[in-house]
Assembly symmetry: C2
Homo-oligomer: 227 residues x 2
């Protein structure tokens, strides 16, 4: 009986993921056809995904046309923060209990956005270091955030997310020294899981380190446009 | 086709949860028969579950017989920290990818522990503010941790976890003032979700506020023993 439920669970899990991959492929094609760069932001709750997006909007909103999908289990708080930060094309995506976004949810929201007017689409996932790692949303790459107030062993404890991300942003560097978080150690841990990770260190509070992130983002959009 | 996968998913989800509840009931009965108090620690990755357990062990290990099950997606880092902190009955529980502990995992580990020798069992769940809320592990109550370096809107954004917890521990109060985290606001938010939450404010780093937590824990164990 127990074994039966388990086998059923695995079969259904595979079916859900393959259906998700199919939909994600459709989204990726659509975005590519319009030369839109797409990022999927993932992290623990509270690492600073929304803060980094607020900073990014404030700096680049006149230079790039940025669309944002703000995922949350409940509330539209993040979407409201992003609109306040100057986001002109922000869509909340409330999962109503689900622990991750999936491609079906994104494909439901996308038609409400005027994507022909976009240079960059950023999807802010639900705060969760486990489940969102399994769901392709049609993005070019996942950006995983970690903050210096979490433990530096997080990449080892949640390896799936760091393996499937292309970028790691280490936020809250202004709080270095308030705990035993070791910057060299967190980078070594992350690179031991994924040697290709590109790493940014910054503080959304003080602004330190933001320029390198913004420059990289502009370059990504330029490359996508074929400039 | 899509609707079919969804309906199947809901049916299987119900079956998994009802099987889990049955097993959790068995665990609860077993622990109750031995008058063992049992807590299920839940939080985001990095809120300080392991740090609070280290502090708790250091203070109470000669007074209470504490058993610990340390859940993680990967690595036995937390279990090793707890053994180092003086834990004499610590069992790692590595989920190998799963985003939460379930009653089956706990019932597999429990026979390896000499539970007749215990006053208190603490289960440290996987760091995740969503999924562990749905899985009863046979505990007396869930203890949800939140830290002052996360946003004060977390209870509103992850209401399931705060609704199903009996205790909220606000950790890292030594870092108050380094962000715009508002202590009154986080409490109001949490109590709007669950008016019965008992709240502790403390710092595992400085030790501030720990006494109230330790006193409550001793009282809980005493009540369970029928003292």
């Amino acid at each position: 009986m127990k074994g039966g439920v388990m086998a059923e669970k695995i079969d259904l899990g595979k079916k859900v993921l393959s259906e998700n991959d199919r939909l994600a492929g459709e989204i990726r094609e659509k975005l590519s056809a319009h030369r839109i760069a797409a990022l999927n932001f993932v992290s623990s709750p509270g690492s600073g995904k929304t803060s980094l997006l607020e900073r990014t909007l404030a700096a680049l909103k006149d230079e790039l046309r940025i669309g944002l999908i703000a995922g949350d289990v409940q509330t539209e708080n993040d979407a409201n923060r992003l609109i306040k930060a100057g986001g002109r094309m922000v869509r909340p995506l409330v999962t109503g209990g689900s622990c991750h976004l999936d491609a079906r949810m994104v494909s439901r929201v996308l038609p409400e956005m005027d994507i022909e007017q976009l240079d960059l689409l950023i999807i802010e996932n639900v705060g969760n270091l486990v489940c969102p790692s399994s769901y392709d949303l049609g993005e070019d790459m996942k950006v995983v955030l970690i903050s210096t107030t979490e433990g530096d062993d997080k990449p080892l404890k949640y390896p799936g997310m760091f393996r499937r991300s292309s970028i790691m942003v280490i936020n809250k560097i202004d709080l270095l020294g308030t705990s035993d978080f070791d910057m060299a150690q967190v980078k070594a841990n992350a690179l031991s899981i994924n040697a290709n990770l590109k790493i940014f260190e910054l503080s959304c509070r003080t602004g330190e380190g933001l320029d390198a992130w913004l420059d990289w983002l502009k370059q990504l959009v330029g490359e996508k446009r074929g400039e």
